[in-house]
Symmetry: C2
Subunit: 258 residues, 2 copies
């Protein structure tokens, strides 16, 4: 395992750029999340550990073997590197990473995959800007078995570091697909949107799109024009709910109605 | 209005300590939140603005007058200070504060106040460590008209800066009361706890305590021993829900059952 301690090293720069959310590669931190990703069939492009941590010793081999006995998804030996603690601390959320951080290629999924399942709903994020909320909703989509999440313009990248962390591993098994509003609407599925000005009706259980917008403004005009608006009954003691809370309530209700 | 530009100034240190969550005073940031706090009858101990911002001019007077026409809850002129931009930036979340930040005394509420309402539920947080989750649950308690929130040992302070921010103003109208587990149990109210190993039953609508624990370990043994455990039906695609998501689902359901 190479040890890298220069900030000018090309591999280091590549990992650093990915952590900052630039470029096409995505970052998974921590032994559990990295192991889960390998187990899910993701192939690490670069696997980096902190020099002096257990991962720089035999523990990494054990982790990879446990995740995938045939090692076919482990990176080539050349792509496993140790960063000096100073470098590693610079790029990682130490608490989350626990000394191990891997780069993966961005998974490629298509809208067709989302719409292949008629037994569930497709979640659409329409201007959900906060990456923590996006990751939390990805986790909810997995918890309540949504077909996947369409990411409309103005929403945070579900594969950014913060969103991945908030998804708590769910990003591995929820197809997240960037989509224009036109492409989404062209599917012709019934469209519902969470909206405080809507009616207090049950969300759809299957064969429909359920859209969530920004906390202040709600979904975009283009979506609002055609969507049936669903309100969540609540007291007048607050003005609105956090978008992830709305998603929790409507997706769990949708799942219960199946 | 005094202008302060020294880090050794006593008022500056007091505000800085409060922002860091030390001591008994709590911090509210941003014109809307400060105005809401004054409107709710909270009396600012110190009101600090960024020198050169609109609040250092006439806008502050306007804000306070709009919030409370009789000015009785506004701080004395001596307790309104301007910090130099460098100092103000050091202590504030600039995006949230928008150049205005106020210190208030910690509201004093009692368990008796929580248990005075039989038409609703009392929320108990039992080891919810993340202040963002605590604040989000305070906001949900307001949205779904819970009587208030009992803060058991091991939970984050609902009056810390991060929790207050996550509560989005709800901290102003939700009684949050630190309590021991014994004090809570001594009330003799039926006790329910969110727990994935429980039964998929409806949460109580009123006259009961609804407890949420830490994301990993759930509620404490002491609470688990006597609580009826409520599970939220979900798919096997995730191991658990975020505690704020569980609270959103159970509190909205509880409210719908009233």
């Amino acid at each position: 395992m190479k040890t890298i301690s220069s900030r000018h090293n090309a591999l280091y720069k590549r990992v650093r750029d990915a952590v900052r959310g630039a470029g096409e590669e995505i970052v998974i931190e921590g032994p559990k999340a990295v192991g889960d990703a390998v187990r899910a069939g993701w192939r690490a492009v670069i696997l980096s550990v902190s020099e002096g941590s257990v991962w720089a010793g035999g523990a990494l081999d054990e982790l990879l073997r446990a995740a995938h006995p045939h090692r076919s998804f482990a990176p080539a030996q050349d792509d496993i590197v140790a960063f000096s603690p100073a470098l590693f601390n610079d790029i990682s959320d130490t608490k989350t990473s626990q000394g191990i951080l891997a780069l993966f290629e961005r998974p490629r999924t298509t809208l067709d995959q989302l719409f292949a399942r008629a037994d569930s709903v497709v979640v659409a994020l329409d201007g959900v800007q906060d990456p923590g909320n996006v990751g939390t909703i990805v986790r909810l989509a997995a918890a309540f078995d949504a077909a996947g999440v369409a990411i409309l313009p103005g929403s945070a990248d579900p594969f950014g570091p913060k969103a991945i962390r908030a998804s708590a591993g769910a990003i591995l098994n929820v197809p997240c697909v960037p989509s224009s509003r036109d492409e989404l609407l062209a599917r012709g599925w019934p469209l519902f949107a969470a909206d405080a000005r809507g009616e207090a009706i049950d969300p759809p259980a299957r064969g429909a799109i359920l859209a969530f917008g920004s906390e202040g403004a709600g979904v975009s005009e283009e979506i609002a024009r055609v969507a049936q608006k669903i309100a969540i009954p609540m007291s007048s003691r607050v003005e609105s709910l956090n978008v992830a809370a709305s998603a929790a309530i409507l997706l769990s209700r949708s799942y219960a109605l199946r």
